[in-house]
């Protein structure tokens, strides 16, 4: 399944993903935007593949289990701008971010963008490195000058991007454009079965604890190399996770961990964002139906598309590597994603049963 492909890709990249010698600590930041495909029915696999083939001649990864899922190749974009900072420190970063689009179950579309920000690297002052150097390390942004990982992560997670001018790194805008691009595909008839809002899911992966800069560098480097080669003597682990529902459509996730494969972390966040969207969307529809439920046992009309299109997509953690499963488990325990989902699905089934009984009663009369 997809995770195997990812493991192999990560393995192939092995050395390439490791920052240049002398690099400092590193923070992975990213954003996932999730929405309902602007199409009246679920897409077939070839159609879904067409949506995410964003570059000629490139491979799309397709998996059929547990739900059909296809992912575009990574798109690279160059950036040269200040990186986020909660304290307002202005530190310029230069490098690339990676984006990809995916379609799940022929119904849901996601765009995700991420970058690995390397702080305190040995960037020669004044003069840039050749651009080819940055292209040889895709998805890495080198930052000159001092900046703490917390300052960076706090700034990134708390700043709404993608909506306005602003001069700092804007992953939200990159991600939003990619989602628009997918939604504007000629394969789509622009007639979604119901209205659903896009959600934004921002995430940051920081080192465990607060080690000295040099220590963190060597640890994260060797850890990445180890997990990606699959011969990890010390398996990657997650120390702490913070999930925040910032408003109706914005969520943030902060992970402290070490030895984690970054590609898998992005995959985890995409999976979390997908399920959070499902929960948010179905809850919204159910809430609306409850308000409007006029009795009489009639099935609220807005529930039908949800039953048709969304209920079967819930497969939490199916594409997640073992070292990241504790994140799902932890969120389940504290937030009860699945319990909430079961409760919503139960309510919808009850409505369905009531509607059936009512129609039988009508027939008997």
């Amino acid at each position: 399944m997809a995770a195997q492909g990812e493991a192999q890709r990560a393995d192939e990249r092995g050395a390439g993903i490791i920052p240049a010698a002398g690099a400092g600590s590193c923070v992975l930041v990213g954003e996932v935007r999730t929405g309902l495909l602007a199409h009246s029915r679920a897409l077939t696999e070839p159609e879904a593949t067409g949506i995410v083939t964003l570059r000629p001649g490139s491979q799309v990864r397709v998996s059929a289990r547990p739900v059909p899922h296809c992912v575009s190749p990574d798109l690279t974009l160059g950036v040269h701008c200040p990186v986020p900072s909660a304290s307002g420190a202005r530190r310029d970063g230069l490098g690339t971010v990676l984006s990809r689009a995916s379609v799940t179950s022929g119904r849901l579309v996601q765009a995700s963008t991420h970058g690995r920000i390397v702080l305190g690297g040995a960037r020669s002052a004044g003069r840039r490195r050749p651009w080819a150097h940055h292209l040889a390390h895709p998805g890495m942004i080198e930052v000159g000058g001092r900046l703490s990982v917390d300052d960076l992560a706090d700034g990134f997670l708390s700043t709404e991007t993608g909506d306005g001018p602003g001069s700092t790194l804007d992953l939200g805008a990159v991600c939003g454009r990619l989602l628009d691009q997918a939604q504007e595909s000629p394969f789509l008839d622009q007639k979604p079965p119901f209205r659903a809002r896009r959600t934004r899911f921002r995430f940051a992966l920081l080192p465990c604890g607060h080690p000295a800069v040099g220590e963190s560098a060597s640890r994260s480097e060797s850890a990445v190399a180890d997990t990606t080669s699959g011969r990890s003597p010390v398996p990657g682990h997650v120390c702490r996770v913070g999930f925040v529902v910032a408003d109706e459509t914005v969520r943030t996730l902060r992970i402290h961990g070490s030895g984690l494969d970054l590609v898998s972390v992005v995959g985890l966040c995409e999976d979390l964002a997908l399920h959070d969207w499902l929960l948010t969307t179905v809850q919204y529809v159910v809430t609306g139906s409850r308000v409007r439920a006029g009795g009489g046992g009639r099935l609220p009309s807005q529930l039908k598309p949800v039953i048709d299109h969304l209920l079967h997509v819930w497969m939490p953690g199916a594409r997640i590597g073992e070292e990241l499963l504790p994140v799902w488990t932890g969120l389940e325990q504290r937030l009860g994603f699945s319990r909430q989902w079961e409760s919503l699905v139960g309510w919808i089934r009850d409505q369905l049963a009531l509607a059936l009984l009512a129609s039988l009663g009508d027939g008997a009369r």
Partner: protein, 338 residues
Amino acid sequence: MTGGTGVTGVEVVVGETGATDRTVEIPLSHLSVELGHLYMDELVDGSVDLPAYFGRIATWTGPDQLADLARVPRSLLRASTCVLVDDYAAAPLGPDVVVPRLIAAARSAGLTIDYLARESGCAAPMDGAAALAGPRPAASLADLVEGLIVADPAAGFNGNRPPAHENGWLCNGVRSPAGGARQAMRAPVAWQPPLENRAHRHSIFLDVEIWREQGSGRRWSCPFLATVWQLLRLGQLRVLGQPAATPVDIDPDDLPATWAQFPTIARLPGHAAPFAAYRTLSVLDGQFLPVEHAVRMTLGQVAVDPIVAEQTLRRAGRENVPLPAELPDRVGHVFLGG
């Protein structure tokens, strides 16, 4: 893969081959040596003394020099030679005339041409099954490479707008504001100089035409096709994980009359080392310096498939061949004076 020892204590590994990338590795020499480049006019009007031309190139391509450039001992050196025929703009002479002439002239200078390619092949519809597969096939090698361009961002570019896509042009910095631009009722904006992103005190700003719309379609520029050519020689191009172009054996005694019937990359009989190589050397007339400057700048803004990049670096490591990760640094030139 999703695997692990769950409650059952059994390790479960689940795989699905469709989800796995398959990226083919191709054979690699240490060095791909380009034995000059001639404009078609020069071949037509006979203004170039071909044996003398190849003779000058031969002085720069001795085995010791090549081994040195490839950074391997001479005894281990795998080098192949190639010539790119300039047939894209116009081709009054066909392969049946040009190819034997080039082979004979090179031979008179003691050089062997292992591979002959045609420039139009970089812009033509791709051959092979790989080109047809997939929902969005690349129309040509040039299309494929254009899709790999990741522009060098100017200072201040933070992703909040699409990257500037200047209809078919690529540069190494910030352009000078358009001349004569004026806002209504205001004086013309004062001229500002362009800026090289990586200026060393002063800028050497370069703006390269990649293509232009012309008549029935897109005309690719010579420097861009030369960039495609370098990427082919560096073995970095794949279509759906398959080699984007593969050399085809030809019989020099049975050559077609038109270039369209000629392979994109043709292998001449002999014991040639692989076409693609870790590094390239091009020995060219000095008039090609601007073209190759553009090639180096463009190569520096091409992001090849990271899997291919990694495979190449790892193989070089296994062979103990020092290899820079940056593509422009793998490309060497000798420019001959008049």
